[in-house]
């Protein structure tokens, strides 16, 4: 039985009672908490949340304070997906045995991880949980680096970005390797619902979250989380940078249902050149040197090809 609550517009959405409290330690302007709030407000169900080590975990559960109004667990860097798996299995076992305190209370299991834990160190754990088919939703808060420890590169860091372990320098333009296509990888696991969502497009994010929570089985959502500290922009610009990310199609917003139905959820009225997005962040400023301009061209080319691919796949319904 579906427990999705109808949210027609932002005014209606604003009547939700926040279950993510302030006085956490995230940087002013951090998009992580915007995303977490959109998730926790999109449903009234009880939530059991697991978090990998990372900015979110380290800022919301530092003894003696917790910012979570629902049960929450952090074990280590890799294993939020497995913590959620274990909790979900316990729920199933106790439901079968009739030992739950409130067996009719709706509950959803959610795991959060940054890109570092999702794309890299925790990949196996997430992959295993998806293969086993646990009923949970995995949300990646993608700020394209190991932000918690000072901005080291991850396999989510895009080409040309400068990070502390692959910095731009005299002979290097930053990261050379392409970003892993995590959405495609998770769709290939046979997950019933995967998506890439953005917090500025709150309506499609909320709808996507709701769909994932409501879909039985493991669902994966990658979310673009603009990082004021490591992307190097003013904290007040988090949403406008995210606007540039979605309007340049650096971060296309789309979903894949049952591995075959791809729907593009945001079509920019005017697609802006990626150069505008790159120019707004300190981590890309070295690309504007004449010797690095070819990298910007390569980035634009990849974006164009990806957008073309998404549109074709949406049309072909495969």
């Amino acid at each position: 039985m579906s427990t999705i609550k109808k949210i027609k517009n932002l005014k209606e959405f604003s009547t939700a009672n926040d279950r993510f409290e302030g006085a956490h330690l995230l940087c002013p302007g951090c998009a992580h908490s915007i995303i977490v709030r959109e998730l926790m407000n999109c449903t009234d169900d009880n939530l059991v949340i697991a978090s990998n080590t990372g900015c979110l975990e380290v800022s919301t559960a530092v003894y003696p304070y917790t910012s979570w109004d629902t049960s929450w667990i952090h074990i280590g860097f890799e294993n939020a997906a497995t913590a959620a798996s274990g909790a979900e299995a316990m729920y199933k076992a106790r439901k079968k045995k009739g030992t739950l305190k409130d067996p009719d209370a709706p509950v959803k299991f959610v795991a959060f991880g940054g890109d570092g834990s999702t794309f890299d160190i925790g990949f196996q754990w997430m992959s295993g949980a998806f293969e086993r088919g646990h009923d949970f939703t995995y949300i990646c808060l993608d700020n394209e680096n190991y932000a918690n420890t000072g901005g080291q590169r991850s396999s989510s860091t895009p080409v040309g970005a400068s990070t502390s372990t692959a910095p731009a320098g005299r002979i290097s333009y930053g990261k050379k390797q392409k970003k892993k296509d995590i959405v495609a990888i998770m769709a290939a696991h046979g997950a019933p619902y995967v998506a890439q969502l953005a917090p500025n497009k709150w309506k499609s994010m909320v709808k996507g979250f709701q769909k994932a929570l409501d879909t039985e089985g493991p669902c994966f959502i990658n979310t673009v989380s603009a990082c004021t500290t490591e992307w190097k922009f003013d904290p007040k610009d988090t949403i406008s940078i995210t606007d540039l990310a979605t309007d340049s199609l650096m971060f296309p917003v789309y979903e894949i249902i049952n591995g075959t139905e791809l729907n593009i959820l945001y079509r920019p009225k005017n697609i802006i050149p990626v150069e505008e997005y790159l120019a707004a962040q300190g981590r890309y400023k070295h690309l504007f040197k004449p010797e690095n301009r070819h990298v910007i061209d390569a980035i634009q080319k990849d974006i164009d090809e990806k957008w073309e691919y998404l549109q074709r796949r949406e049309e072909a319904k495969v």
């Binding site: 932002l10 330690l25 009234d44 559960a61 304070y65 904290p235 949403i239």
Partner: protein, 151 residues
Amino acid sequence: MVNESKSVKEFISLEKTELLDWDEVNQGVLLESFNSLNQNPAFLKQEERDYAQTNSYAASVADWRAVKPVYNRDICIDCQNCWVFCPDTSIVSRDKVMIGIDYHHCKGCGVCVEVCPTNPKSLLMFVEREDVDEALSKWPEKKKKSKGEEK
């Protein structure tokens, strides 16, 4: 502010948190969110909840700010943009109507000002020590769009 719960006597700065002895800390580093809960917190407003002292809601990050947002009720159209995009659960809205800023938890990031669509904006940043009424009296006029200027 309307979202203040009676369970918190004083919103103390994180810095001033009292240090406990080994026999006073929670077993297993466990943290509780509430003292008591008679229903799912999703159905309770913040002011209706019995927060535990170990909930970060009971703490204050006001001392993080160098600048603060000031809210102008007269201009606001209750669009709720600021509410949805606040990273610190510091925009207080009740029954689709904007109430104001929770200054215990606001870090002064300025996102709310940027996403405010009105002209002039209904939220503006002022230095921390500025008196709110003073700030309201200094509110700018509507900005005229010159030809070719982007919105």
